[in-house]
């Protein structure tokens, strides 16, 4: 199978994620879009790993790292979202424009 097509899929998911991050108002949806972007990187890594036929499986290892980072990011991100919600009663990123509360 063609490597480029898989990479294109990754690129597509990434740009969809970019759109989501820019166009969404709800903070949780923004987090989801970031997940999309991270995931597209994973697809790239796995595709390259399969293409290289690397016996050390470096691509897979980095994909695992990214999954871990994504988990950490969601944990902290959601904590922030909940905190903002508790203080501002909204999770619309446009409305959270004060630098203090």
């Amino acid at each position: 199978m063609s490597l480029a097509w898989v990479l294109t899929l990754g690129a597509f998911l990434f740009s969809v994620g970019v759109y989501g991050v820019l166009a969404r108002k709800n903070a949780v949806l923004v987090l989801m879009s970031i997940e999309l972007m991270l995931n597209s990187v994973n697809i790239n890594l796995i595709a390259f790993n399969a293409w290289f036929r690397d016996s050390a499986a470096v691509g897979q290892i980095f994909a695992l790292f990214i999954i871990t980072v994504a988990a950490a990011e969601v944990g902290v991100g959601l904590a922030i979202v909940l905190l903002v919600f508790r203080n501002r009663k909204t999770i619309n990123v446009d409305e959270v424009d004060l630098l203090k509360w």
């Binding site: 294109t8 759109y19 997940e35 897979q60 999954i67 999770i91």
Partner: protein, 172 residues
């Protein structure tokens, strides 16, 4: 680079699966960012991540594939759904987008265009051959020999994130 890279276009079963799952993932990803209902968006995200996991399995990354499902689907999306429900996700549609949709669309289209151009420029003729299965023990061996330091760093990161999340979410 690869000697077999210029082989003729043979449609193999893995390629078909990747195409199917890829299409599913792409469509669902679009649905994630366009959906007018937050919970639907999260569920579409599940589909994207599941399809990506399936692609990993097809591409021979068994361990990563199942990890993807265990961590992403079983934990991250559930956390996201939690966040949605705790911040009151009503049934029905609400305005979820801001005013910069046009700009966002152009930006992402530009990103996609540049990426696609570069990808096809560089790897347009490369092919993936799936005759070698990467076994989980290889991943483990590699992870705990050459990449032990990054592994530990990631563990520390995870711990920091855990503590940070608890500190942030804790009521005073």
């Amino acid at each position: 680079m690869d000697p077999e890279a210029t082989e003729g276009a043979v449609v193999s079963w893995p390629a078909v699966f990747v195409a199917i799952f890829g299409a599913v993932a792409a469509l669902s990803a679009v649905a994630v960012v366009l959906s007018r209902n937050v919970v639907h968006a999260a569920l579409y995200l599940v589909v994207v991540l599941g399809a990506a996991g399936a692609i990993f399995l097809v591409l021979g990354a068994e361990f990563v594939g199942w990890t993807q499902i265990l961590i992403y689907v079983g934990a991250i999306v559930v956390l996201l759904l939690f966040g949605l429900m705790l911040t009151a996700a009503p049934i029905g549609t609400h305005a979820l987008d801001n005013q910069q949709r046009g700009v966002a669309f152009m930006t992402s289209a530009a990103v996609f265009g540049v990426f696609t151009f570069i990808i096809w420029r560089s790897f347009g003729s490369q092919r993936i051959h799936l005759n070698q299965v990467v076994r989980t023990s290889d991943v483990g061996r590699s992870l705990f020999s050459g990449y032990i330091l990054p592994f530990e760093v990631v563990s520390v990161l995870l711990l920091a994130a855990l503590v940070g999340a608890i500190v942030l979410a804790k009521k005073d």
